[in-house]
């Protein structure tokens, strides 16, 4: 579903991501963990086609992000760490805008907006301007817009930040449901407990380089993900 091969991206002299390779398969929830500034957001944005990378390749469903970014974008959805949406629109206008861009049919968009917005308890607020939304409400709207066009791959940067416990629980359910239906999810998080319980596979990155990756059970063994992460941080410090 998503194949990252030898990805390298620098900002001036600094290498943000260095020779990173990962493979996310259909049905997998893949967690991406690292300290602040480790290169997680850069990697995610490169996968989405927001950032141009220096070398390596990224494939979505076998299509190169570098060679055919539009086709890749049609197959995925992205939720950034800070959901800065169009403040001048209402929630429903934003969702319709996204649906128009992805060419979602009238019936499908109506059904999906109703389903996800009522599930996340945002439906009544959809007529409100986004500028009046709280951070959590914006995050919920970003989640609905991501699921709106039924993408195969969903990439999320810190998706649980700002969500209330109920919405966070619902999002976890949505993620599992999506992957059970053959989709894939690649997301970054600092909440290691969530990653440990939710992810099928995990990758830990440090200063742009992959430290460890694989199935959750293999990576953490008998200890917790937190102790593995802290141990690896100490080793590489």
């Amino acid at each position: 579903m998503l194949r990252i091969e030898h990805l390298t991206k620098s900002y001036g002299e600094k290498k943000a991501v260095d020779d990173l390779s990962l493979h996310i398969q259909p049905g997998e929830i893949y967690g991406f963990i690292g300290h602040n500034g480790a290169g997680k957001t850069t990697t995610l944005k490169s996968c989405v086609g927001i950032l141009r990378f220096d070398s390596g390749e990224i494939y979505v469903d076998g299509i190169s992000v570098r060679a055919n970014p539009l086709e890749c974008k049609r197959r995925l959805a992205f939720i950034p760490d800070n959901p800065d949406l169009y403040d001048f629109m209402s929630g429903i206008k934003y969702l319709n805008f996204v649906a128009d861009i992805f060419g979602v049919g009238e019936k499908e968009r109506e059904e999906r907006i109703h389903r996800f917005a009522s599930m996340l308890e945002l439906e009544k607020d959809l007529a409100q301007p986004i500028s009046a939304y709280s951070h959590g409400m914006k995050q919920k709207l970003a989640v609905i817009s991501a699921w709106l066009h039924a993408p195969r791959l969903i990439i999320m940067d810190e998706p649980f930040v700002g969500l209330d416990p109920i919405a966070a629980h619902l999002l976890k359910g949505l993620m599992r449901e999506h992957c059970d239906a053959g989709g894939a999810i690649f997301f970054s998080t600092h909440v290691l407990e969530v990653a440990e319980k939710l992810c099928d596979k995990v990758a830990i990155i440090r200063e742009g380089r992959l430290v460890v990756s694989g199935p959750m059970d293999e990576v953490k063994g008998n200890s917790s993900l937190e102790s593995v992460f802290l141990e690896l941080e100490d080793q590489h410090a």
């Binding site: 900002y11 001036g12 600094k14 944005k45 989405v48 086609g49 927001i50 141009r52 539009l70 086709e71 974008k73 049609r74 992205f78 950034p80 800070n82 800065d84 949406l85 169009y86 403040d87 001048f88 629109m89 929630g91 429903i92 206008k93 319709n96 805008f97 996204v98 649906a99 128009d100 861009i101 992805f102 060419g103 979602v104 049919g105 009238e106 968009r109 109506e110 907006i113 109703h114 439906e123 009544k124 607020d125 959809l126 007529a127 409100q128 301007p129 500028s131 009046a132």
Partner: protein, 530 residues
Amino acid sequence: MLKALFKKQLLEIREIYTPKKYRGQKRKGSVGFIILYAFCLLSVAAAFVGMAELVCGPFHEMGLDWLYYLFFCFVALAVGIIGSVFSTYSTLYRAKDNELLLSMPIPPMKLLLVRMLSVFFMGFLFEAVVLLPAFGVHIYRCGTGVLNILGCLLGLISTGLVILALTCLLGWVVALVGSHTRKKSLVTVLVSLLLMGLYYFVYFRLNSLLRSLVDNAVTIGDKVSGNAYILKLIGMGFAGDAWGICVFALIALALTCLTVYLMSVSFVRLTTMNRGEKKIVYVRRKMTRRSMLSALYAKELTRFGQSPTYLLNNILGVIIMLGGSVYVWIRFSAARELVNSLLAQAPQEWLRLLTIVPGVAVSFMCSMNAVTAPSISLEGSSLWVLKSLPVKLGRAFTAKQLLHFTVNLPAALVMCFTLCALLGLNAGQWLMNLLYAASYTAFSSALGLFMDLRKPHLDWTNESVAVKQSASVAIAMFGGWALIILSCLGAYFMRRVFNIAPLLFLVPALGALALDRWIYRRGPDVLMNI
């Protein structure tokens, strides 16, 4: 503390005009843009040099130098206010870092003073384009002394303070009225336009007073008294009269202090007031599907309609064009008579160039409505949406340009049509002028977008920075004027060799083609790398 705040504000202003390259790259290429910016400003200043040349000599010979300075002081006030008033409200009250700064132990008065610095800078930039050429011409033609130079410098600052006070008062009234209503965007637009109308009503009355002073200069000059004497003192201050310098400086300071006092009383309340609208509960209804271009266009249109700063900054020219056209049609006979009498006195060789006046005049107005110039910067922190969606960025550019046409083209064609009728042009000349107006609209949309792609400013703390104060907007506006002035000068100097006036529309048309070629070929890459 005040020093630290001023430093932050100055950094913000610096960032507006020489924005850093994004993604950690070093700032480069700014020198070229500063030169281009300076060139554009100088082109506009050149027009005021011409104006000053016309009146400086006669006024000096009559010993009415004070009237010369007073006249340009009023022109500078008009230009400064129109240039900065629409961004004042958002600069003062809607900055993104207001809450952050108010949470720090900073007295609100200091924060207000720092915000006012940005407003002052904006007004100062516009007034300087008028006053500096006027000073230069007077010094060149009539000589100068220490007091005259001191008077001009202090007069420049005092005029800036008066502009600051008046624009801040207008912004304050807008905020006060807006705090009592839920439809804040609409109210902001309406109150701003109403206040502008009121200001210019009073202003034009003063202008007619000035005109009568000019017409009967010597007689009236001897008899000035009361309020008019204060005006005379102000003019004399510029000319080097120590008493006049002090009076103008005191008036400007008093007005500024009064404004600061009035605003400080309600600053925190107006800054932190809940911007929430009346809660509307969403009701499910049938949804319609649109094409990608139409969705992108609707997005641009919504942004335009929802942002008072963006809207006000770009519809003033439209209102003037449409309002002026309606007025001309209502009083068509009288206007035609006036034009005919003016044409009868005009030198014969000028008449050939008069045939391009409608297109050129309309284009000058359109330059003020640089809709595309802040359109990339306005994406701000939500630029990721456009980048992450499967949108051909060329279509996003087209949507931005379409909005520019929607705002400008109908009004431009109506005014052009009106002026052609007023001047009694023939069918070929009508066509030529309409082509000029249309091709200039295309040029200004392309120039604005080109500039904003080259010099985007996404980290703004309030949207007036992107809409009003960014380098891209200034260069798009003044650059448009520069193109018009230079092409007209070209036509004027070549008039004896070849009358290029009928082909003048090709200048903006070719400019638009060249810029659009760059925008659609290289623009998407440039945008992705921002």
